[in-house]
C-alpha cells in the first residue's frame, strides 16, 4: 500500500510522490538481535542434552572427498566392540553415506539438507530423536562437504574435527581460515599416497598452526592403517575424560 495517499497496490498514481528523503523520518525500532542467535540457542539446547547423556559429540568438517565417511567406516569397525557410536550423516541428497555406515552395524541417520550447504542445530536436534533409548558414547556428525558454511553453525558438539586429504593443496588452511580456525582437531588423511604426490606435509601443518596455533594434528591413512592407533587412543582418552566429568556432574 502506498503510504503517502493510501491507494492500493494496483491503483494508479496520479500524484507526485516526494522523494523519500523529504518525508518525515519513520519510527526507529531497536532490535539488536544476533542473526545466528536462533541457531546458537538450539545448539545450546543440544549441548545440554548431550551433556546430560554424557555423550561425546564431534562435528566432522572438510571439503567433499577428503575421506570423512571412509574414516568413520574404519573407526567404527575397529572400535565398536568397545564404544557405542551413532552417526548423523549430512548431505544435500542421497542416503548413500548413511547406508555405508549402517553396513558397519552402527546406527546411522541421513539428514538431507536439499539446497542447504550446512547442517544446523535444528536438524541435529531432530536427527537425535532417531537414537532415543540407545546407550551411546560417541556421536559423530558428518557435516556437508564444504569448507565454508559449516564453520558458522554451532551444532552443540564438543569439537569440530577438520579433515584435509593430502591430495588437496597444503595451503587449504590459509585459503579457508574460518574453518581451520573453528576446528580444534585436524586429521591429515590418505597419507599412504604421499610418495606419489608433491604435498609438503610439514608446510601444511605450519599453515594450519598459523591459522590455529592450538590445533591438534593427526596424520593417518584408512587404507594402510598407519596413524590410526594414535587417533583411536586420543578418542579413548577423550571418552574417558567425558565419563569422568559426567560422573562428577551427577555426584
Amino acid at each position: 500500500m502506498c503510504t503517502d495517499c493510501g491507494c492500493g497496490p494496483s491503483g494508479h498514481h496520479h500524484h507526485h510522490h516526494p522523494p523519500v528523503a523529504e518525508l518525515s523520518p519513520g519510527r526507529v525500532v531497536r532490535i539488536e538481535e544476533d542473526l545466528l542467535a536462533k541457531n546458537n540457542r538450539l545448539a545450546a539446547g543440544n549441548r545440554r542434552f548431550f551433556q546430560e547423556k554424557g555423550l561425546l559429540v564431534y562435528n566432522l568438517v572438510s571439503s567433499p572427498g577428503s575421506g570423512k565417511t571412509t574414516l568413520l567406516e574404519r573407526t567404527l569397525s575397529d572400535l565398536q566392540h568397545e564404544v557405542h557410536f551413532a552417526v548423523l550423516e549430512g548431505d544435500q541428497q542421497t542416503s548413500n553415506d548413511a547406508e555405508r555406515i549402517a553396513a558397519t552395524g552402527v546406527p546411522a541417520v541421513q539428514i538431507n539438507t536439499g539446497s542447504g550447504c550446512h547442517l544446523d542445530a535444528h536438524m541435529v536436534g531432530h536427527g537425535m530423536e532417531n537414537f532415543a533409548g540407545l546407550p551411546l558414547d560417541i556421536l559423530m556428525i558428518e557435516n556437508v562437504g564444504n569448507l565454508v558454511c559449516p564453520a558458522s553453525f554451532d551444532l552443540g558438539e564438543d569439537a569440530k574435527i577438520a579433515l584435509l586429504s593430502v591430495t588437496e593443496g597444503e595451503d587449504k588452511p590459509l585459503k579457508y581460515p574460518d574453518m581451520f580456525k573453528a576446528a580444534d582437531i585436524l586429521l591429515l588423511t590418505k597419507i599412504d599416497l604421499l610418495p606419489y604426490l608433491r604435498f609438503d606435509i610439514e608446510q601444511c601443518k605450519a599453515f594450519a598452526r598459523q591459522v590455529n596455533p592450538q590445533v591438534r594434528i593427526f596424520e593417518l591413512s584408512c587404507q594402510s592403517g598407519v596413524g590410526l592407533s594414535s587417533w583411536y587412543d586420543w578418542l579413548r582418552q577423550e571418552l574417558a575424560a567425558k565419563r569422568r566429568t559426567a560422573r562428577d556432574v551427577s555426584r
Binding site: 526507529v28 531497536r30 532490535i31 539488536e32 558458522s152 553453525f153 580456525k181 592450538q214
Partner: protein
C-alpha cells in the same frame, strides 16, 4: 553460500519486530556484519531483494554497517587489525590472536511507518 538462509532470517527478525510495534511498512533495516563473521555483505545485499518480496520489508533500504576486525596478541598483548585468521601479530609475529571485534552479525534496528 549460506547468506540466503541468513538473509531470510534477517527479514523474519526485522518483520517480526516491525509487526510487534504496529508498523505497516519498513523503510530501512540496519545490519552489522563483522569482517570475521564469515558472511559476504554483497551476497546479503543480493539476496535481500528476493527475500523481502511480499513482506513488510519489500522495497526497503538495507543498510549494512561493516565492522572491521581487531585482535590482541596473547603473547605480547599488542592490538592490531584482524580481518582474516591468517594475520600475524605485527609487533612480535605470533599467530595466537584474541578476537576483540569483527564477529558481529546483528540486526540493529528498523525504521518503520
Amino acid at each position: 553460500m549460506h547468506e540466503l538462509g541468513l538473509t531470510q532470517h534477517l527479514v523474519e527478525i526485522a518483520e517480526g519486530a516491525a509487526r510487534k510495534n504496529g508498523a505497516t511498512q519498513v523503510r530501512s533495516v540496519k545490519v552489522e556484519i563483522g569482517a570475521l563473521a564469515g558472511v559476504v555483505p554483497e551476497s546479503v545485499e543480493f539476496c535481500f531483494e528476493a527475500c523481502s518480496r511480499g513482506t513488510l520489508l519489500e522495497g526497503s533500504r538495507l543498510e549494512i554497517v561493516f565492522i572491521p576486525g581487531r585482535g590482541r596478541c596473547y603473547d605480547c598483548h599488542a592490538e592490531c587489525a584482524l580481518d582474516t585468521y591468517t594475520v600475524a601479530c605485527p609487533a612480535c609475529g605470533g599467530f595466537s590472536l584474541e578476537r576483540l571485534q569483527g564477529e558481529e552479525l546483528r540486526v540493529v534496528e528498523v525504521e518503520v511507518d
